[in-house]
């Protein structure tokens, strides 16, 4: 394949012209600095940005966020919107296997002084009470009838079963349950896989992290969210577990046959897709939404277990510890959103594959309490450096289909990490920084070592300077539970 000649648009944006590859319908645009761009040149991610530009009905450009890295089909950090009225497609590979993988952040009224001596107790309690790890199985056992309810009601189901309170729902994207979920479009196998894993964190890059806010960038918004320097927060990263993986696999397979049926030409079969208005796409969308709701229920249960664990350590109720949800975002999902394109209002199918929705202030879809601030955007970094809370902006609505980055983004492989990193040295280094880690396997700790990720500060600089989101505060990790 030829080397891509990037055109520099400004310090934070680069273009892959559609002339790069025959069949691209639009340009590719990458949000990055030159440093980040050159750091990712050795893998296939930019080729994937060009491949996404082949999708029928794609609008304006194939986008990549600064945490871009090599995925399958879409790059991780990829965003693409299609117009159903112009033959626009939906691609299960553009959402990924972990449908509605996402993050939630909750605050506490504890300070660093309150927790300093209790870090080992906290991390041990969380590790014990929140099921994590490879193939972890949850305490929440559900019948098929109940599971169907989860797929429709999402986090609301969890709240109705006592896992949290109604106020939590207002602090979730889609209020923790997207409409239009169709439990009948979810296969028996997906149900079987889902039943085993309700209320589990999972493995890989999923985690539960206790953090301290170490810098505030926007005092006014931070105050509105009830956040200040020295305060303790908790972040939970998980998704739809085996249920989502099975839904994606079922529909990628089904959509391979749609490529001939609808005469679709794509350079990577993982981008298999179907026109949004087709029967196949409608079935996938119903199943994808069901899986997304499962993930919201899952994160709600995980938060409940986290609150209970803190309650045990501090012998207080979670309410008196002030453990309110700041927000919950999905970063692997396809959503239908209204956008103005060339002066015309359109209802677009926005794919976010490792990207976060970032609605700006005044967006009518946001709850009243976020109208002035814009939507909270939660961006976890690696377990040794930092994570950020940002808000969405009007500029992101104009430029990036209301999307921003989702994390730090990997730079090196799990394989390389296992070869190069000694787990005991790594744990010692983290401990020296005051970070305690618990995981079921040492392998996961090594595969997720800080050095395999880009520096989150570099990624955040791009979304801040380009104006597609705005920094509110930064958190550094104190203890981490990994799968």
């Amino acid at each position: 394949m030829p080397e891509i000649a990037f055109e520099k648009i400004d310090d934070y944006k680069f273009r892959i012209p559609k002339s790069y590859k025959q069949g691209m319908r639009v340009d590719g645009i990458i949000y990055a600095t030159e440093k980040l761009l050159s750091g990712a040149k050795n893998d296939n991610a930019f080729e994937q940005v060009a491949n996404v530009a082949f999708l029928p009905g794609i609008v304006k450009y194939s986008l990549a966020m600064p945490d871009i890295h090599w995925g399958y089909g879409f790059p991780i950090g990829g965003v693409a919107a299609t117009d159903p009225e112009e033959g626009g497609v939906v691609s299960p590979g553009g959402v990924g296997y972990d449908i509605n993988c996402g993050v939630r952040m909750l605050k506490t009224n504890l300070t660093l002084d309150d927790v300093r001596d209790k870090i080992p107790a906290i991390v041990n309690r969380l590790y014990q009470d929140v099921p994590s790890g490879v193939g972890s199985t949850g305490d929440v056992s559900v019948t098929v009838k109940e599971e169907r309810k989860i797929l429709v009601e999402g986090a609301k189901w969890a709240v109705s079963r006592g896992f949290g309170v109604a106020d939590d729902l207002e602090s979730c994207e889609e209020q923790g349950a997207i409409e239009g979920a169709d439990p009948d479009s979810v296969s028996k196998r997906a149900y079987l896989r889902g039943r085993e894993q309700s209320g589990t964190l999972g493995s890989g890059n999923h985690f539960l992290e206790v953090q301290v806010i170490d810098e505030i960038f926007d005092a006014k918004v931070a105050e509105k969210f009830g956040l200040s320097v020295g305060q303790i927060a908790v972040m939970i990263h998980s998704g739809s577990r085996g249920l989502g993986y099975q839904v994606c696999d079922d529909y990628v397979k089904e959509m391979l046959s749609c490529l001939d049926k609808y005469s679709i030409n794509i350079p990577d079969r993982q981008l298999a897709c179907a026109p949004v208005k087709s029967v196949e796409a409608q079935k996938y969308i119903g199943a994808m939404r069901a899986a997304a709701n499962y993930a919201w229920a899952n994160r709600q249960v995980l938060m409940h277990l986290t609150r209970a664990a803190f309650g045990k350590v501090f012998s207080k109720s979670w309410q008196s510890l002030g453990m309110d949800l700041i927000y919950d975002v999905a970063h692997n999902i396809a959503k239908f959103e209204k956008r103005v394109v060339d002066g015309k209002e359109k209802y677009l199918c926005v794919h976010r594959k490792g990207a976060t929705r970032a609605f700006g202030p005044g967006n009518p879809e946001l709850a009243q309490k976020y109208q002035e601030t814009g939507q909270p955007v939660i961006i976890p970094g690696d377990m040794g450096r930092a994570s950020y809370l940002l808000v969405g902006t009007r500029k992101s609505e104009e430029e990036t289909f209301a999307s921003t980055c989702h994390g730090a983004g990997r730079v090196s492989s799990r394989h390389e990490a296992l070869r190069k990193i000694d787990v005991n040295v790594l744990l010692k280094e983290l401990k020296a920084k005051g970070i305690e880690v618990r995981a079921t396997g040492k392998k996961t700790i090594v595969e997720e070592a800080p050095s395999v990720y880009k520096n989150i500060d570099d990624v955040i600089e791009v979304v801040q300077k380009s104006g597609i989101s705005r920094k509110i505060c930064r958190m550094r990790p104190l203890c981490v539970v990994k799968g």
């Binding site: 090599w70 995925g71 193939g135 079987l192 696999d249 730079v411």
Partner: protein, 141 residues
């Protein structure tokens, strides 16, 4: 001849699988998959019969691997050995396999060393030369 090797990939697992013929390519791919998942060794007790088809051999390989992943997690069945035959009729490739294995709970089991979400179609290829077949598959982990 080695059955497979693991190659570099930024986020996922990329495997290159070798075999003398098409049937062994499918068997060795399955061996690679389950050696990534677990070190558990066992004597097969039950048999599951699988028939799958696809328009391309490459697609068939991924569909086969995902079928095995799905059986592992949905029906808690760990394959141990395989009797595979591959045929082609009017341009459609078909695999017919007797998969022998054991009942095995993958959830909360210390014998399971990683989680694989699925085999993907991205950069999927099967090459053939005088020595035999080589396939490249990326697993999402």
């Amino acid at each position: 001849m080695k059955k497979y090797e693991i190659l570099e990939h930024t986020a996922d697992i990329r495997a290159r699988i070798f075999a003398k013929n098409q049937e062994d390519l499918f068997v060795n791919s399955a061996i690679c998959l389950f050696e990534l998942l677990t070190d558990k060794k066992a004597k097969a007790k039950d048999t599951k019969h699988i028939e799958l088809s696809a328009s391309r051999l490459e697609d068939l390989l991924v569909i086969w691997l995902n079928e095995l992943i799905s059986i592992f997690y949905s029906y808690k069945f760990l394959p141990v050995d395989y009797a595979v035959s591959i045929s082609e009729l009017s341009g459609v490739k078909k695999i017919s396999a007797d998969v022998r294995g054991i009942e095995f709970n993958p959830y909360g089991n210390k014998d399971v060393k990683s989680e694989i979400k699925a085999a993907t179609y991205h950069n999927l290829k099967i090459d053939k030369d005088s020595k035999g077949f080589a396939a490249e598959v990326i697993f999402d982990v």
